[in-house]
């Protein structure tokens, strides 16, 4: 009985977060803020649904699969967000007009594909010459 309630709760809340992720894509003003909405809510939503599935079936193989799916979601979703966000940024998509600071602007050299760090960065004593 309690397991049933827990299963229902995690699946409903998980679906809710997925819905928020989808709405976020519609509602957010620019690419980077959209990536925020989809990455975090997507991982949490799918993770909660997998927890619900594992609770419902309560067997070793299903539990192992659910754990593996959650682990790979946590590993891969931020990488995808990084690659999409980075590509969009360097393609020259404009940021939302209320964006306050942009410290990345003009630091990427397209010819050599190098990205410089800001000049005022505190240099750690052993961080010299790593490129």
């Amino acid at each position: 009985m309690i397991i049933e309630w827990l299963t229902g709760f995690t699946i409903v809340v998980g679906s809710g977060f997925m819905l928020v992720a989808a709405l976020g894509v519609l509602r957010m003003p620019d690419l980077l803020t959209r990536m925020h909405a989809t990455t975090k809510a997507g991982v949490l939503g799918a993770g909660l649904i997998m927890i619900g599935v594992a609770l419902h079936f309560a067997s070793g193989p299903v539990l192992a699969k659910a754990v593996a799916i959650i682990a790979f979601l946590i590993l891969t979703a931020p990488v995808a967000a990084h690659v999409i966000g980075r590509a969009g940024y360097f393609m020259g998509l404009s940021l939302w007009d209320k964006t306050t600071v942009d410290e990345l602007k003009g630091r990427y050299d397209e010819a050599t594909h190098t990205l410089t760090s800001p000049p005022d960065t505190d240099t750690p004593p052993d961080g010299q010459g790593r490129a």
Partner: protein, 157 residues
């Protein structure tokens, strides 16, 4: 690392001796192996470090999921209410993580926690460029991300 392998070996020996290959029994074997290592090899530095790391790792997982939940509630609130409360910005955060593996894990976890998304690492690996959703106080944001990074490095090193 070698200590973790020994712990897993002890777990497998326990499972082989008791003869039931199930999740609870694997977990019990791991806990027993951990206790044996902690008692028998507490004078060896390598193992003593490992014994301290396991509770930190478990604490970190709890902390991480709590942060993941908080970040989602915040973003969900902004998506569902008509006005945007955001003041986004791109900032450069100095990195303490050195190796590729450390930087990858730190950047991944930053992407999953409140209002921050890793964009790119500078070619000299000194800073990580982040997109921050609620950039009200730049120093406070950097401080909270540095705290997360310190916790990650504590577990990794």
């Amino acid at each position: 690392m070698i200590a973790l392998i020994w712990n897993i070996a002890l777990m497998l020996i326990w499972v082989a001796l008791t003869g039931s290959f199930t999740a609870p029994n694997l977990l019990l074997g791991f806990v027993l192996g951990y206790l044996i290592l902690g008692l028998a090899l507490r004078d060896t530095p390598e193992f003593a470090k490992y014994v301290g790391k396991v509770p930190k790792f478990i604490g970190f997982i709890g902390f991480f999921f709590w942060e993941l939940l908080l970040s989602n509630l915040k973003v969900a609130y902004d998506v569902l209410t008509p006005t945007h409360h955001m003041c986004p910005g791109v900032i450069a955060m100095p990195l303490d993580a050195k190796t590729d593996g450390e930087i990858t894990i730190v950047a991944n976890l930053i992407s999953l926690t409140p209002g921050t998304l890793s964009l790119d690492v500078s070619s000299d690996r000194k800073v990580l460029y982040l997109h921050v959703m609620y950039l009200v106080d730049r120093d406070a944001v950097i401080r909270s991300i540095k705290a997360l990074e310190a916790r990650v490095l504590e577990v990794l090193r």
